[in-house]
Structures are given as C-alpha cells and as structure tokens.
Symmetry: D2
Amino acid sequence: MLKVGILGATGMVGQKFIEMLEGHPWFTIEAVAASERSQGVKYGKLGKWKLSTPIPESVKDLEILPVTPEGIGQIDLVFSALPSEEAGPIEEEFAKKGYMVFSNASAHRMDEDVPVLNAEVNWQHSKIVDEQRKRRGWSGAIVTNPNCTTAVLTLSLKPIKDEFGIKRMIVTTMQAISGAGYPGVASLDITDNVIPFIKDEEEKVVLETQKILGELKKPAEFKISASCNRVNTTDGHIETVSIETEKKTDPQNVAEVMAKFQSEPQRLGLPTAPNPPIVVRYEDDRPQPKLDRMEGNGMAVVVGRIRKDEALEGIKYTVLGHNTMRGAAGCSILNSEYFKAAGYI
Amino acid sequence: MLKVGILGATGMVGQKFIEMLEGHPWFTIEAVAASERSQGVKYGKLGKWKLSTPIPESVKDLEILPVTPEGIGQIDLVFSALPSEEAGPIEEEFAKKGYMVFSNASAHRMDEDVPVLNAEVNWQHSKIVDEQRKRRGWSGAIVTNPNCTTAVLTLSLKPIKDEFGIKRMIVTTMQAISGAGYPGVASLDITDNVIPFIKDEEEKVVLETQKILGELKKPAEFKISASCNRVNTTDGHIETVSIETEKKTDPQNVAEVMAKFQSEPQRLGLPTAPNPPIVVRYEDDRPQPKLDRMEGNGMAVVVGRIRKDEALEGIKYTVLGHNTMRGAAGCSILNSEYFKAAGYI
Amino acid sequence: MLKVGILGATGMVGQKFIEMLEGHPWFTIEAVAASERSQGVKYGKLGKWKLSTPIPESVKDLEILPVTPEGIGQIDLVFSALPSEEAGPIEEEFAKKGYMVFSNASAHRMDEDVPVLNAEVNWQHSKIVDEQRKRRGWSGAIVTNPNCTTAVLTLSLKPIKDEFGIKRMIVTTMQAISGAGYPGVASLDITDNVIPFIKDEEEKVVLETQKILGELKKPAEFKISASCNRVNTTDGHIETVSIETEKKTDPQNVAEVMAKFQSEPQRLGLPTAPNPPIVVRYEDDRPQPKLDRMEGNGMAVVVGRIRKDEALEGIKYTVLGHNTMRGAAGCSILNSEYFKAAGYI
Amino acid sequence: MLKVGILGATGMVGQKFIEMLEGHPWFTIEAVAASERSQGVKYGKLGKWKLSTPIPESVKDLEILPVTPEGIGQIDLVFSALPSEEAGPIEEEFAKKGYMVFSNASAHRMDEDVPVLNAEVNWQHSKIVDEQRKRRGWSGAIVTNPNCTTAVLTLSLKPIKDEFGIKRMIVTTMQAISGAGYPGVASLDITDNVIPFIKDEEEKVVLETQKILGELKKPAEFKISASCNRVNTTDGHIETVSIETEKKTDPQNVAEVMAKFQSEPQRLGLPTAPNPPIVVRYEDDRPQPKLDRMEGNGMAVVVGRIRKDEALEGIKYTVLGHNTMRGAAGCSILNSEYFKAAGYI
C-alpha cells in the first residue's frame, strides 16, 4: 500500500478525496494537512464534514498537519485540494522535495511542462513530467487535472475527435453548487434562480479543453465557445454540446463510437477507472443529474440526446458528470493510478 | 371598456390572464369559462388559485361558464388559455361565431393564415387575419402568440436580425417549472435536478421562430438549433444564444442596437407594452430569473453577457423573460391591444 | 433463500423494496406484480425507475405479473406496496391463500387482529397473528408497518416510555416529498414553500402510535398532539417532539437511555436491523435530513437536541428517520425478518 | 415629510427598509449609512441589491455615509439595520445626540427601559421611553422590534391572551433563509435539507415573547417552549403553536377572536398597519409561505388550521408572517409611525 497525504483536507474537495480513497486497494491515507486554524485537531473532531457518507474511521484520529513537506513527513504522494490562489508555491515546494503532487488546483494547469490530465483522454501527456523534472530540477512533479466542467466535457469529446475530428464546438453548462466549494454559493442567490456566470470558468473551459485534446505543447486548434451557468443542483454538471465535425457523421454513428469507447485506464484496469467510461442513454430525457451522476461510481460520464445539430450541420448532445468525483477528486486519483501503473511512482 | 372572456380560466395561464387584466384600462373581464367539472361554481370558491397575488375581487363572483359561444354570451373578445389538445375546434367555433380569439394554445400556430404574433417583432403579420376571415368565412378570427421560450427569444433576436442579419443561431434554454402548468412537473423529478428534455419544445422553437421572424407566408430561412432544459426555478426562462450574423458586428454594437430598440407597441403606447422592451444589463452575472423576471411588469426581456462567440465568429448573449407573462398571458394581451389600436376590434 | 414477491412493484415504495432487497442474505425476489397497464412488460423496460441507484440486474428481466395469488404463483412471502385504497381486499385474498403479507398500506392497520409492527418497538405484537388466522380462517396472515412518520417517532419514544413513562406528547413534523409517492407533490406547490397539511396523517400518527406503544388490543392512553407539514426535502422526515414523562428525568438521562437502547431485532442480529437503532448526536445542529438519513443504512433514527421542555416541564428533542426506508420498505423487511426468526415462515 | 436615515443600509434588512419606505406618505429617506468599505459610493452603484424590486430612484444617488450622528447629519429619525454585535454603542450614540432610533438589532431588546415593540401587541410599552430618556439623560431614544419569529408569533397570541389567558405554549418554527441575512445560509447546507437549530433564536423567542406580552417591567409568566428550524424557503416564517389557555375555549371561538382583532395601529389608521392584522384561513392547507406571506403587504399574519390540541387540552394552530417585513423592517416602520402618531416625534 502506498502512503498518501491530502493537502487542503478540510474543504469540500479534500473531503471528497477522503471519501473516495476509503477502501482504495493501492492507497492508504497517512496524512491530512490544512491551514493553521485547523492544525493539531483530530480530523474527526473538526466538525466541518459536509458529506452524507460518514467520516471514514481510519481518518478520524489523524491529526491535522501543516501544509509543508516537513509537516507531512515521508509519504509516497500527495493530493492537493488547496485553493487555487494558495496552491502555486506550496505545490512547487512539495515537488521540489521529491513528492508527486496530484493537484485539483488551477495554479499550474497552464504551465507548459505540467500536464492537465484526464486519464482516458490524454494519458500520453504524462510524459511531459520528465521535462518538468529536468527543467525545474525537481525529483517530484506536479500533475493537474482539469476543472470539473472540462473533465466531463473532454471525456465525451475524445472519441468524437479521434473518429470524426472537430472543427468547432459550442457548450452551455448547468453546474451544481458543490462546484463552488463551501460555503460557496449563498442560498439566497441560487434558490429559485440561475446565475449565468461563473468567474473565469469559460476561459478555463476553452484553454484546458484545447490543451487536453491537443498534442504535447500544441493545443488543439478547433474553436470553442462556452457559456457557464450555475443552477440549483447539489452535484453533477450537465452540459449541452453542439459540434461541427471535420468528417460528416450522424447521431447513430456518434452514439456507437461513444458507447464502445475504451482507453488506457480501462485497458490497465485501474481501480478508479469506470467501465465503460462513457455511458450512452437512449431515452429522451436522460442524462439527469439526480439519477445519473453516480454512474461508474461517479467516474463515468453519461451522454444522451445525441441528435443532429441543424445550425452547425453537425451533431449535438447532452453530457453529465459528477463534478466533485469525475470532475475533481476522482480525476486526480485516477491520474495517480495511471502514474503508478506507468511506473512513475 | 371592452368586455373580455377567458377560456380555460382555471389553469395556470388562465389565472395569469386574470391577474394581468386586473385594472386594465381598456378591458374588463365579463366571462370565465372552463371544463365541465368547474362549471356553475363561483370563481372565488373554486380553490385552485395558485398565484401569490390574491384573486381580484371583480372576478370572485363570476360563475364559471361552459366553453362555448352560447355559454359565454355576447362579449368583445376572448383570450384562450385552453390546453393545446382541446383548443383547436373550440377556438374555431368562437372565431366562426364572430369572436376575436387571442390564443396561447399551440393548436393553430402553424396554420398558414393564422399569425403567431409577438407584437414588437411581427405586428405586421396581423393583416393575415383578413385572409383568414375571407378564406374561412369567419367574422371573428384567431390570433396566437408563440410558446414561452420563443416569445422571449424572438424579441431579443428582432433588432439583431434587422440590423445585422442572422445566418445561424444556437440556443440552450433553462426553463421554469411554471411553464409546464399545474400540477405539471413532479417535485421528485426536479428537486436537485435538471431535466434535459421538454416534449415538442425544440421543434416549436425552430418553427415558430422562423415564422415570426420571416415574412408573411415565408418563414425566415436561417438555421436554428435548440436544446431545451427544465431547471428548478418557479418563473422566468433563461436562454444562452449564439449567433452568426450576416454582417460582422461586435458586442458593443449589439448592445446598443438592443438597448435602443423600439417597436410599434411602444410607439402606440399600448398599455401592456414594456418600455424599453429589451433591457440590457452590463454586469457579469445578469440577467437572473429571481431578480429580473419582473422587469417591465414581466413584459420586458433582459439581455446580458453580450460577448463574442469564438466558435461562430459571431456574438453570444443570455436572455431572460417571464414565461407566463411575456411568454404567455401577457403576450396575448399585448397582441389584443395592438389589434384594438389597429382598428380590428 | 426464501422466494419473495412485491405487490405494487412499480411505485416509489415498490422500487424501494427492490433496492433494499438487492443482496439480501435470506430473500430473493421472484415475482413483481403491478396494475394492468404494466403487466407483461419486463421490469427493466418499464421506464418508471426513479431511484438514483440502478435497477438491480436480477430484477430487470422479471415480467410484471397480475396482483393475484394465481398471477404471482408459489412463493414464500409477499411485500405489499399497494396504494392503501386498493390494498384491502387484495391483501386479504393473498392471506387467505396462505401467503404471509408484509404490507406498507394503511388498509388493515387499525384491524384489531392485525399488528402494526415496528420491530424494535413492539415485536411481541406479532403473536396476534395467531388470533388473526384462527378468527379469519386464513393459513397466511397480514402484518402491517406504521406510516413513515410514526415509524420514526415510535422508535425514539420506546426507550423513554419504558424507562420514564409518557403522560403527553406533542410532535411537529417536517416531512419529505418522497412520502407522497410519485408524481405526488407538484413542484409548483413545494418549491419555496411549506405545506402545513398532509391528508389523514395527523390522525394516523395519533392512532398508530397509541396502538404500537400499547399492549395487544389495548392502545397506550397517553395524549398525543400532531402537526404534520410537508417541506422541500427529498428524503428524511424530521420531527420536533415535546414530552411530559411520568417520572421526572433530564436530558442527560434521556440521551443515555436512548443511546444504549437495544431490542429484539438487534439481539437476534436480523440482517436489516440497525445497530444501534437510535443514534444520539450531541452537536447543536443535528440531525439533518441530508446528512443523517442514511444512518444505519437508512434504518436507524437519529436523535439530537435533547433538552428540557420548559412548557411541559419535561423533555424535548428532534428525531430524524428515512421515510421510505425505516418508515416504509425497510420497516416491512425488518418485520418479515423477525417473523422468519420467530419461526412463523 | 419627515427625513429619515437608515443605519446598515446595505444589508438585507437595510434593503428591505428602503423598499418598504419607497412612497411612504410620512417619511422620505435622506441618509443611508453603512460600514467603511461602502462609504462614499452612491447607493445605486454598490451592486449589493438582492431584492427583486428595483432600487428606488430616489435612493440611487444617495452617497453612503458613515454610521455616526455627524456622518448622517440633521434628520428626524433613524432606522437601524445594523448587525446586533455592532449595534449596541452606535445606537446609544445616536440616541444621546437626540435621534429617535427604531432598531431591528437585538442589542438593546432586553434593556429594562427599552421597549420591544410590536405595535398591535404592546403599543402601550412605548411610554417606557420617557424613563429611558430620563434615566440615561438622552434627548433621543431607542425603540426595538422583536426578532422575526417573535413578531409573527406574538401578534397571533395577543387576542388569545386577552380573551382566554395563556398558561403554556409550545412553538415549532420553520424559518426562511432570508432570516439569516446575506450571504447567510450556504446553499450546500439548506438544499434538500432542514437545519434544526438557529443560534440564540429559541432563547429570544422565550424572553421577547414574555416581555412583549407582559406589562411594563413585568414579563408575562406563562411557560414557553420553542424549537426553531431553518427550512428551504426564501421568505416567510411558519410556526405550529400549541396553547393551554387559562379559560377553556374551542377552535371556533379562537378563530372568531382572531379574525375580529383590531388594535391601536388600525384605530389610528397608521400607513403601514395591516387591516385586518390577523387573517384567518379556513382551508385545510393554509397558510403557506409562498401564497400568503404578502398578505397585508407583508404586514399581516395569516393563521390557519385552528383546532383542538389533544395533548394540552387546549388549542393549536399554524401561523405565518413575512420575516423581513412584519418580522423586521416593516415592524420597525410601524413602530415609528405609532411614535409619530403618539406625538413623540
């Protein structure tokens, strides 16, 4: 069993890491670290747990440690659920000291030598880590996962891009409140409401999608337009996607290509890899966040309503994924499993 | 004062007609009609009122009448809030007997000689009524308004089409539960959920938008793609819209053209006409259903987030309108005011 | 393995029976029965599944059968999730033909020779079944469970009544929408709202509580006042309870007595019995439906805020339980396990 | 017209003061004051307005002033919407400098010489202000209103206490999120949830109710038990109330006494006084927050479900009132109207 630590263990994503790592066949949580005001307290005594699953027994008695390599001590890898505005230098410090850092923070995503990894989509990007180490003189490394919206979106785009090519894509998202962390969205703002704006989200969707679906150091060049909205759901981002493909295709074809899609994590049988990674539904009214977000233990994306897009003379569909699982903690865990299987850890 | 009647007066749209006609300067409600099981009861005793405004005193003592010309008796015009599957022959019967019927039902919207009127957008289509009367041998006539989504959408599209032309348009909607009537959407279906499907809605958006923005008997030919979703809001449909225009333009230009838009209802000073009909907001996070749906007494649409659409090399924005006011009862009332001002009544 | 059937298998409670019986160590579902319009269809093809867990594979291929002994065929026991207004004669027919019927319907709850069983509270009432069989000439029998609110309430009252006696009790409930079945509560009625009334619920709470906490054929005589409200939660009924006890006590005492409560299902180690059956929380702000309803796999009740009641000079607390698990399907399953352990099946 | 100022004008209650004072026949807003980080900005430019009614034009151009007598300048009275933890010394400073302060903060409510005024209930308590001025050497004075829950509750209790006497009372509340201010309740905490705890609320309900329904300096002595819950509604607190009366009575009697209740604000015809102050509903399922909170322009309380309480051998009912109108800003405004009518201003 590898010993893992969680940086930013008390926030929503930190809690999700703990929940998803419970019972993991390869990893055992040895260290939880958080900001000063929680340090020294036992995790189970903190009173911030917001998930409906109980705190795992194995974590209850861990004392909350400082977010430094010295504070954490000797372990095999760390997951970072730090706020993006704090994560930058802290993650670098860990990588420098030899830790593999799997980060959900956006701080380093756009660094040229840091992969934004969504394992089924661009597992080959993992090798940029060699350059990262050499260039920065680190024995560890930083591996990021995309923002929640992009994680869900790119997984659905991957087989389409491979099979038909993508010329342009328009996406409108309806995102759950858990995506904003805790306390996050005020209830007075979202009850009986939609908020048609999420700060920096549309920019991230464009840039991260192009990086993930591109080649190493060469982002994909197709044109992307994103409109991101917050809606009153707890978990599960749902997105309408319109695509003009390079090669002409039709909904039936696209459904088949998506339904049969397999990738490296499935071939390697990674513990957190959903199989199939893309679940295609043929009912008129699916996917739905409440009914479908836990598909593949929260790691699959569910696609439905695949049909012609009359305006683009292409195709359109609706895709759903669990934003704090596939879109955050789970994506990071899957990435780390890939790195281990690939011999990096 | 003209005497008006309401067909289907007990449903959600019927109630909205009653609420919006209270205190109207030209119209007074003389007759309320509904299905057999309510007939003979006083409206105020029915116990089906679902609005947070109280039942107007003037309507409380009206006895519910049969939905027939004989049942209603001699009045000046009727508003139809009948279910679309029942409305067809009933509305024809009224028109034949000389009544002007302003209908929210979809039954006759696609009839070539029946206007789908959204007064600011295509008031000139009113004159097709002359042909309708002649062809059908009626002394009355049927005038429909568009479905709620299309009413909101086409009002926002009108100044763009006039000024820049539209080549293609992609719209994703997030629609309120009141759009499905009562009892409509089950709470178990929509709490903590989004339903990515509304029966027949996308087809209506395409066909009605093309009819309204086209010329008489010659629908507009630009390509439309619609994805319609139900979200957990009570009132107010919000839509993300991406457009490729004929003439190149930019967000600033589009904002100006929308903000200064005026049309015939404003020039005529019709009682229910909002002024301005399109309210442009410049904050990042507007429009929002809860905060903006009552703009212009529920009759204006609110547009925000006007920006470049990178995928279409055009523009995109978010538009909001009150679905049971601008999108249903209010639109019908405004249409009837236009017909009166134009001398048809 | 005993073969079980589910009557009314397509409704919300029927679905919950199926979900909770998946993987059961003693029971395997052999028959699913429902009203005529579903008969003959495979369960997995029906399209009515509303739970977020997927339909168990083992049930997908079962054909939906008629709700008659002949239709169901030879099995060991049936669970009834029939609507209360239909359940009466159907359940009698099954009992007459030799089936043990564990019913969630209210039809027979007030029959003197039918137990309303909440296993931890009144397992001894099971023996009235002997009289039921003799008097009615049945080889089978009917065993009911209480309505959801009462199931949760009486489990929390049991140790208090045993230890301190109860003179009077006042309860106000805040009940989840799933308690009304599907389609049940209209979203327009409950969004941003509380409905201070649930038909027949307060009467049931009073009569069923007195029957369950009384002796066989001799209902408890303490006075009960109930106010039942529907609130906008999906699952989990939460109730504030004020009690004047016979013997004086204090919150500390009551907490201890509740926390250490064990009963026959725990002693027998029944598969569905939660242990502990009552979870006592000491934080100010627990129990909460979202966080605590799954305690004990949805079979425990969670009690918190135990404090003095100044008006009754007694004690008060808040109790929560999962209404479709502890309060419906799960209670029936636990009852059937007790009957099996007691040798009736 | 009297010139009024609002302290804490940018928060939720401050906004409600502004909304409710728009068009007031006696008062005109001359000054808005708030904490340092908003000072100097025009109110209309602040971007914090959360109400669905637009910001009144008359307030848009007011510059936000410091919360000091010098900052506010010469005006006739101030309304305080300050946070309770800051309000204490600031309100004293204003009273000392000669201002009448009508405060929604709890800071001074329990001061013996400060009235907690709910005008229909205890208008006579206003005269304690004479003692306050004398004792403290102030030319101004502080007048508080009760917390939102108590304002609604005591208005419903007043006619019962007068007519039948009250021996004990048990109340369970279901309170709206707007009661917690902004940002207040996190959406992750309240979506699909009930929170069975509101800090200090139960203590306030007991003490303020006894003070309001008592005589000057002699709180009422009947026993009160309160359980306060936060539910997922935007506005409107709804409460179930069980009462043992001194004199025996019945639901019919209580309904009549409540329905015909009139008090000093109604007799004086104060502008904000609802008439009737208590609206009695006879349907099974009323009052409901969404449908009834705006009764009497948000200033009436609505009572329904009046029935026997079997446990107390008394009566029980459900009462609803708008928490930020009757329960906060509106109550303060009504109090100030009474003071003006009584010649204090």
